[in-house]
């Protein structure tokens, strides 16, 4: 899987990190940090929740 963030859209609400804390975090500047760009399948369910929880739809998860 490939996790991507559109930095033009991301406003660092932290919603996604709440659903998938193992893959996503915020830094001090309010930038989203992808802890992994190629997350393992075990993170899929959490990441799907994180993607759908983003209020600006800045996250995407694709099968690659």
């Amino acid at each position: 899987m490939k996790l991507r963030v559109d930095r033009n859209l991301c406003i660092a609400t932290g919603m996604c990190a709440g659903f998938s804390p193992d893959a996503l975090d915020l830094d001090a500047m309010g930038q989203l940090v992808l802890l992994t760009e190629n997350p393992p399948a075990s993170m899929r369910a959490d990441l799907q929740q994180a993607v759908s929880a983003c209020p600006v739809q800045a996250l995407s998860l694709t099968e690659e």
Partner: protein, 423 residues
């Protein structure tokens, strides 16, 4: 026992709670029909943007803030308002707002996600006075803001504060009027409220605190806001942000329990195959059993998932909802992130940073137990404090108080198995 399988689910509300509930039904394997009814002419969109970037950036079109999803076989009926529900007949009455036609729809499973509507001030409202809740509200307000009006905002809560920030970023003259002694102070405490007052002042928003509103001046078009003491704040545009009320008009006389929201059990169930989620739902807090209602994006999503699970679960096995949600608010250069639910009488301490610099972590405690953490421009502390607040809530859940019975609808007597909810 004859198996009585759920065949169809009706969702009243197409905002984030309704959409997420429908998505969750599908992701949990439900293959029956799902019909969603929404009272706005467009489907799910990013409502939080209405007070922020959608208001300030008129290059953004409606399509730019629509939510995209790839869930199969959801039927949307839009611009349709639910007007009545009959529990005995399990029949929903709807009104097509384009034609005025009224029709009935038979209900098997029901998800109540009708949200809330903006509270208005009593009395006549001249043009130029807005509430901000719907896409239509935002489009009309945005159009009016192009004429560089003097802006008055009534209510320094969540919406008012964000709109003040947005209007200042457009270079507009802004006065914000608040009945209490500080912006958001009733929720976040007076010390934080006074800090936020400084944030507004430093960014050029004039504040009138402790000021009640008597009405508006101007007959056809608004010319100002009249304060209770008689003074008039001149304004060409007024935004009223005095909270919202749950959209439960259609449930009056339905047989379902309504009291400032529709009353649910801890698993968000209301009765047989009926659940609720989002701004409209009022449920017994896992902390002390008192009924609460929360109007935030994160809460709507978390509740929608649980409500969908409850609808699909065999009786007595549903997951109960644990309410540790969060909200964010962007005001000027300050990012607020609140995790948990502070009480008005909580003890406040500054765990990190300084309030004066508006870069800090404020911790709320009640009887020694953490109830919430507020991050001011400290997004990197989200992980740590979410874990702390969650730990404090799960600690309190072990003490497990029974729901209060004075408001308790009959359906709540079903046993709800305590299970842990993943956050």
């Amino acid at each position: 026992m004859v198996e009585n399988r759920l065949r169809h689910v009706t969702v009243v509300g197409t905002s984030i709670a309704g959409l997420t509930a429908a998505q969750s039904l599908r992701s949990q394997g439900f293959e029956g029909g799902i019909t969603l009814f929404g009272d706005e002419p467009i489907g799910t969109y990013q409502r939080p943007a209405l007070s922020k970037r959608f208001l300030t950036d008129d290059s953004l079109e409606v399509a730019d803030i629509r939510m995209r999803w790839d869930v199969p076989d959801l039927i949307f009926e839009l611009n349709v308002r639910a007007t009545h529900f009959d529990l005995t007949q399990r029949q929903l009455t709807l009104c097509d707002q384009a034609t005025g036609r009224t029709y009935n729809h038979s209900v098997d499973g029901l998800i109540i996600a009708s949200g809330a509507t903006a509270r208005k001030l009593p009395g006549d409202t001249p043009s130029g006075v807005y509430t901000l809740r719907t896409m239509e509200d935002a489009l009309n307000l945005r159009q009016d803001l192009k004429h560089k009006p003097r802006v008055a905002i009534v209510g320094a809560g969540f919406v008012g504060s964000e709109v003040a920030s947005s209007c200042r970023s457009l270079g507009l003259d802004v006065t914000m009027i608040e009945a209490s002694s500080s912006p958001m102070g009733r929720v976040l405490g007076e010390r934080v409220g006074l800090t936020l007052a400084g944030l507004h002042s430093d960014n050029g928003t004039r504040l009138r605190l402790g000021a009640g509103v008597a009405g508006f001046t101007g007959s056809e078009r608004v010319t100002g806001v009249r304060l209770a003491q008689g003074e008039v704040i001149p304004a060409d545009v007024v935004i009223v942000g005095v909270g919202s009320r749950p959209a439960t008009d259609w449930l009056e006389g339905s047989g379902l329990p309504v009291n400032d929201g529709v009353l649910c059990g801890r698993d968000l169930s209301i009765g047989n195959r009926i659940v609720a989620a989002g701004d409209v739902a009022r449920w017994p807090s896992s902390r002390d059993g008192s009924y609460i209602r929360v109007e935030h994006w994160d809460n709507a999503i978390r509740q929608a998932k649980i409500a969908a699970a409850t609808l699909l679960a065999p009786p007595g096995t549903a997951t109960r909802f644990s309410e540790t949600s969060m909200f964010w608010s962007d005001q000027y250069d300050c990012k607020l992130q609140l995790i948990g639910h502070p009480n008005p009488d909580d003890e406040i301490s500054i765990a990190e940073g300084s309030l004066e610099e508006r870069r800090c972590v404020v911790v709320y405690r009640n009887a020694g137990r953490m109830t919430a953490a507020l991050l001011m421009s400290s997004p990197h502390r989200l992980r740590t404090y979410r874990e702390e607040v969650l730990a404090a809530y799960s600690g309190s859940a072990k003490h497990d108080t029974a729901p209060r019975t004075d408001l308790e609808p009959a359906s709540l007597h079903e046993v709800v198995q305590p299970t842990s909810t993943r956050f």
